[in-house]
Amino acid sequence: MTKEIAIAAKNITKNYGEKSALNGLNLSVNRGEIYGLLGHNGAGKTTTVSIFTTLIQPTSGEATINGHDIAKEASQVRNSIGYLPENVQLYEYLSVFENLEYLGKLSGLKNPRNRILEVLDLLEFKSHLHEKVSTFSKGMKQRVGVAQAILHSPEVLFLDEPTSGLDPEGVIQLREIISLLNKELGMTIFMNTHLLSEVTKLCTQIGILKNGKLIYENSLSSTIDSFDETDSLEDIYFKIDGASKP
Amino acid sequence: MMVFKAAFKHELLSSLRSKSPQLVVTVFLVLTSISSIIGWLTVRNVTKIYNDIVSQNLTKAPNPFTNVPSLYYMRDSVIYVVLIGSLMSIILGAQASLRDRKSNANELIKTRNVNLVHRILGQLSAIASIIVLLEIVALLTSFILIWVIQKTPLNIGAVFSLLGYGAVSAILMIALAAIGFTFGTISKSEESSLLYPIVGWALVTFTIPQIITSIHPVALLNPTPAVSTGTGLAQSVINVISPLAVMENFKAIANAILGVDKSIQLSLVDLLSFSLFAGVGVMASVVISSKSFGRKLDA
């Protein structure tokens, strides 16, 4: 039985002037997976997410989300995705509710109040409903960031370096949330990261990006199986990447 | 001294690398040059009109432009300093202090044992150097243009007047850059750091002179200082608020130095209020900026 494809990229290139950020990217993610895109800084991870979330257009190639073309059906794509940018910034002078109400309405929710309460309940953040975002720690802001991304019940969630800058407790909490969204709500999750530990603990499938090209793609379990038993994921990463381990 | 030198060099490098000062220099120079050329074209046109009138025997009055002082063509540049020079200086100053705040480089400086006063003096001196350089280029351009227009170079007296005018213009611009720098340090956001000093500039350039002289704002764009048409305001009140009309004081001093209008003499009161403004502006900037250093910008 073939699995349904949630995210697909076919031969995508993205140039910024002379500089090439993506260089023939091919990638596919099945529905219900948690996909971890690994790579060095500057490998093209954020460019990839920006293309999938319709923030930028590829120079050439095609990409689809749930079968919708990101260029021709941008509106349908946006309806079916949620996005948490790296170091999410919110309207600091607004409360959690006001932030979510505004962004929820823009996502097409006519009366988002109940949904906001439901989502905050899920994220165990309901008690902060009327507090201003400016008073929050980074971890708390990240939760509001997740809330805004899942308000409209998207099928696919894009997370750009979601644990960046969080303390260990915040990292664990966010990991639990991501897992919950995948298992309970069946969301397909695509996350950029350079933290191998995140991938090991969360992802079902991994891809490694180097110089704008996907040089490796497989399920996490097969990846670990296909290398030496003694190899850690870190060792595996450096073997695939071809770079020597520092 | 080391902090001063390092800050000076860094500020010079940062300011010259960003596009802003390049645009400032271009706009300022182009407009100063245009003002001389337009002035020259107009005088030529007026002389043609005058000759036409004389040829029809309609007047016996002398040509109002015979024997105009050689610096007459600098007349409009006074207003360009008040308008363009001032605003650009405020922006230059504000951007300098905002640059560190936006990049959070202030955090790196705060953790070092840095004498903040020396650092700010270094930064302000670098901005002042840029302004002085700008003024030198502007004066040189004017000197060459007037030479071309009059087909003879300025005499030594006129050159000194030109230099004096350049110095006063530079002082005004440096003081305003320092004020801009202060607002860049203390304001909560980038917008307010520009909005407040520009509103202040507008009050000083238009509102206060209007209250004193009852001259309409557009007429205040005249390069010569405004003459009161009567506001009904008591003279004592006018005396108190006159020193606040900094741009009018500057116009009076600049016109007196350039000798364009013989009726305008250098006044001690204008000179004192102008110097006080410049001195207090720079000193307050150093004190306030060093005390408020490291304030975070609102997200």
Binding site: - | A61, G230, L233
Partner: protein, 323 residues
């Protein structure tokens, strides 16, 4: 449409929250009050001088006395209009700049752009928000002006005067929107905010101050105290015939002036308020006919800059987070 209104509503709420609109109303109202106060004080001085002059005349000279100075109440707000022309434009730019720069520097533009709303809709909504803000500010200033003219200037306003003033404030609204739209376009498109500010301030200097000033400088009559022709003892009829020989210079001068929307707005405002003598007390329809091209130009320029704001949304860099 619904999403457009949601963004517009937030734009207006933000302006209220940041107290910007309030600060604008306060500053422009104050300038109107000062301008009416100064102008009416000036008029009283003129009246006092006239009364002294009358008192100095012998009874037999009264029939030949100069006519009594007349107060046209709407002309009292001339300086207020000039403040809108000069400073209003600057504030309008800053407000437009803020509306976009905040979103971009915070990075909240990413949250908006990943939702089913187009860039063009976001920019359009922001522009609509600015329309609401400026219309509210100017409506308040309109009322302040009337209160100032009646309360401070002791002017008597006819119904037609309210209409004239209304037309002028409508055009002030369009004029200020031009500057706010321009700011939105520049700030959404340019990568660096400092470049946007500099482009804006340079455009403001050129359009609001430099071009009108060059126009004034090029007017031969402005070159000599008391006017060139006045100082040479030339009467109006001869002046016109002489100037006919120098038509091309005047064409260049006028051509330069009409490139400035500020000058166009000033012509419209001064005509409807009767500040320009030749339009004083003329019926509104006659003024509108005489100023037809300026009226159209002000509207057209604002519409064009509005359209270009939407057009720039096609570009990928537009509204993206500042790098």
């Amino acid at each position: 449409m619904r999403k457009l209104l949601i963004v517009t509503k937030k734009e207006v709420q933000d302006a209220i929250r940041s107290r910007q609109a309030l600060a604008l109303i306060a500053f422009l109202s104050l300038s109107i009050l000062i301008s009416v106060w100064v102008a009416s004080a000036s008029f009283s001085i003129k009246m006092d001088e006239y009364n002294l002059y009358l008192a100095a005349l012998t009874p037999d000279m009264h029939s030949q006395a100069l006519s009594r100075p007349q107060l046209f109440p709407l002309t009292l707000i001339r300086s207020g209009i000039e403040y809108i022309e000069i400073l209003g434009a600057l504030f309008a730019f800053i407000i437009g700049f803020t509306s976009v720069s905040r979103e971009r520097s915070r990075g909240t533009s990413l949250l908006l752009l990943s939702r089913p709303i187009k860039k063009s809709e976001i920019l359009l909504a922001k522009s609509l928000g600015l329309l609401v803000i400026w219309t509210s500010v100017l409506a308040t200033i309109y009322l302040t002006s009337i209160a100032a003219i009646i309360g401070i200037g002791h002017g008597r306003l006819q119904v037609i005067d309210y209409v004239r003033l209304g037309i002028v404030f409508l055009f002030a609204d369009i004029y200020l929107l031009f500057w706010s739209f321009f700011a939105v376009a520049v700030t959404a498109r340019l990568k660096q905010f400092s470049s946007a500010i500099l482009v804006g301030i340079t455009a403001w200097l050129m359009v609001v101050l430099v071009i009108p000033q060059i126009g004034d400088t090029m007017d031969p009559d402005n070159q000599v105290p008391g006017g060139l022709f006045g100082s040479l003892g030339i009467v109006k009829a001869t002046e016109t015939s002489i100037l006919a020989h120098f038509h091309s210079f005047d064409v260049i001068r006028n051509g330069l002036e009409v490139t400035s929307i500020t000058k166009l707005f000033e012509r419209v405002a001064f005509a409807f308020l009767g500040i320009k003598d030749k339009y004083n007390q003329l019926p509104i329809s006659s003024v509108a006919k005489a100023l037809e091209s300026s009226l159209i130009a002000v509207i057209l320029l604002t519409v064009l800059i509005g359209i270009s704001t939407v057009l720039i949304s096609q570009n990928e860099e537009t509204l993206r987070r500042r790098s």
